[in-house]
Symmetry: C2
Subunit: 396 residues, 2 copies
Amino acid sequence: MQKVTPRRARARNTQIVLKTIYTDGPISRAEISRVTDLTPPTISEVDSTIISKGIVEEVGFAPSSTCRRAILLEVADDSRQLIGVDLSRQDFRGALANLRGQIKHRVDLPLQGRDGDAALSLVYDLVDALVESASSALLGIGIGVPGLVDASKGVLHQSVNLNWRHIPLGKLLQKRYNLPVYMANDCQVAALAVHTFGAHTDDELPLVVINVGWGVGAGIIVNGKLMHGTPVGAGEIGHLTVHDNGVRCACGNYGCLETIASTRGIIRRVKAQLDGNPRISKNEFTTISDHIDMDAVFQLLESGNEDVRQVVLETGQALGIVAASLVSVLGSCRILLRGEVANFGQLLIEAMRDEMDRRTLPTLSRVSDIGETNVGADIVIRGASALILHHELGVL
Amino acid sequence: MQKVTPRRARARNTQIVLKTIYTDGPISRAEISRVTDLTPPTISEVDSTIISKGIVEEVGFAPSSTCRRAILLEVADDSRQLIGVDLSRQDFRGALANLRGQIKHRVDLPLQGRDGDAALSLVYDLVDALVESASSALLGIGIGVPGLVDASKGVLHQSVNLNWRHIPLGKLLQKRYNLPVYMANDCQVAALAVHTFGAHTDDELPLVVINVGWGVGAGIIVNGKLMHGTPVGAGEIGHLTVHDNGVRCACGNYGCLETIASTRGIIRRVKAQLDGNPRISKNEFTTISDHIDMDAVFQLLESGNEDVRQVVLETGQALGIVAASLVSVLGSCRILLRGEVANFGQLLIEAMRDEMDRRTLPTLSRVSDIGETNVGADIVIRGASALILHHELGVL
DNA sequence: ACTATTTATTAAGAATATTAACTATTGAAG
DNA sequence: CTTCAATAGTTAATATTCTTAATAAATAGT
């Protein structure tokens, strides 16, 4: 708990005003006053400071009748830039985004198998290039990274693929660039992107974004705040057991969600199905089942292959089991899928929904939702930049 | 988001000071200043107001050498009273508690099958009696009630046994007694009791209190705050499926946790085991298996009955499945059992632990904890009074 | 008695939000 | 064209609060 000084009080009220302009703008001072319950003089004072900083600008007049026209204020979207970094792929990606999370400049650096210090130095290269290209003042650096992240300390405890352990990435970058640095797990950051830039309207339900890729993880937002876990580990659903007698997982247990609902798991099962079912070998994509990748799986599904359909349904069931857990713990929530697997569309989602309904209190599942994310491919980069928005401007 | 006025800033800082005295007291003004980072004049000012209100008092001097002795401040435990009400039992119970949650006066009113308006009027009788008996100023009314509660609106949406639906209990009581009223689900309130009055030291891990009684529910506290669900439903784990081909549950699904890990479920299974195993009928407690209750189950277990032991292990496994879900969603956490079932002790807990370990990421389960609550029989009453402490005084 | 040291209070100063008064703008009515 | 009602926005004065700086108080050792 932090004490409240007049300065902090002002900072907080400024955040409230800024958020109001960000979400409701263009908006007049008088209207801000009504919405926030702050008095007009305070609004004027606060506005004059954020206008002088260039974050907000006057953009014209509101139409009016029988009285003075109101001056409309709007956030100057390009007055600041955010550096969003996505370290969850085979290539390190980063971008400069504006205050709306719109990407202005992109940098991709192929990882080419690097890990450890070499990978770290690639992060520096990436951010160097972005800082170099910035066309307006930088508000900070946001990072989405796979693995266990202690967001409050800026420490990446474990990232298997990068062979990083207990890297104080936050401090390292903060010192090098002298900018605020915020980091979180890539799944969490993706959830933040949906929450901040997504098209959903109701802010009520807890939001869960499940990422199904090489591994499986979830980002959870409750009451507009990211659940980090204390200190780490919220949303680590990939190793929840979903098949009592399933295959062995790298974690040592059996039947983890990742063994079923991950690109690896799906491809493995499709292969197994096809191998046991030689008639399929006529299909051009699968003459040698070793060549199967997710694209091949999608095409097989589209061509009406029943084996693949079964695999997709199984995947949905596995995800449905976990969805039931999420709903039981968090209460009714909105669950969104992300990753290549989302391309399975309604077939997957309906299987998931059925399984969830079967496994959880009807009262809760009835008001819960399952769908796909609508943010697009840059979801992690944009989520990472949203981290900065949240912390620096208090926007949402 | 609420604007910050000087008045609110002061209120917040007062809360910080009060909390410091509550948790660290007896403590001197100078020490409070160091801990909270507020300056000595502010501390003096704030203290003088809460001392004049009687909530805090000077209780002597700190031993000192070579300098002026510090005056120690302490919360006047009995300067205010809290009304805590537990509506989750067959009799309605309530009590007057002091600021430490120590119970000063108790009222029990047998429900005798009443429900609906008759039950509501019994609540009035209960609170009437408590208000009557109050020996110092009342800070508010806290209520723990079974069912789905919208805490922010004070509405009880559903309480099956009481046959209540959408009762605005908060408003009703607030009007009748003109006191602040806070309510939450009985399981949530129990978690709050553990968090506020329990003996655990680290405030880090999320805390989950699982109540196993006629039904099963959990209260979840993350970062010192109760998760309510939005608007309701967090911790409703009773109807998470744990047996794929289990028995039918009242909720319409099959194999819910409640069908296994509840007093009903346990007694049902013990009966079934004994019925299929006639040699046991020699046992005096079970000559007619219809007479079995939880006491009989405990005695059978103590006498080394293998069937009952199996039932307990199964119960632990079912709870372990749910524990795995909790840990996967929330991250590592401390899970405490409460209710009659906790009497099974280590046998149950170890079964639960084993199953959880088998079903969740070792990194997370390793730093998670399973145990029993240490608050005692009045846990709901005390938790309900803790609700008032939190909201009115900001203590924890 | 004097001093060093810590505690606590008092007095003055700076920041902030509020109230009340005032100016500015706009379309419509006279 | 002037006046008026209504709303937007600013200015000046006031109150609250936290902070800094100065002051008083207490205590054990010298």
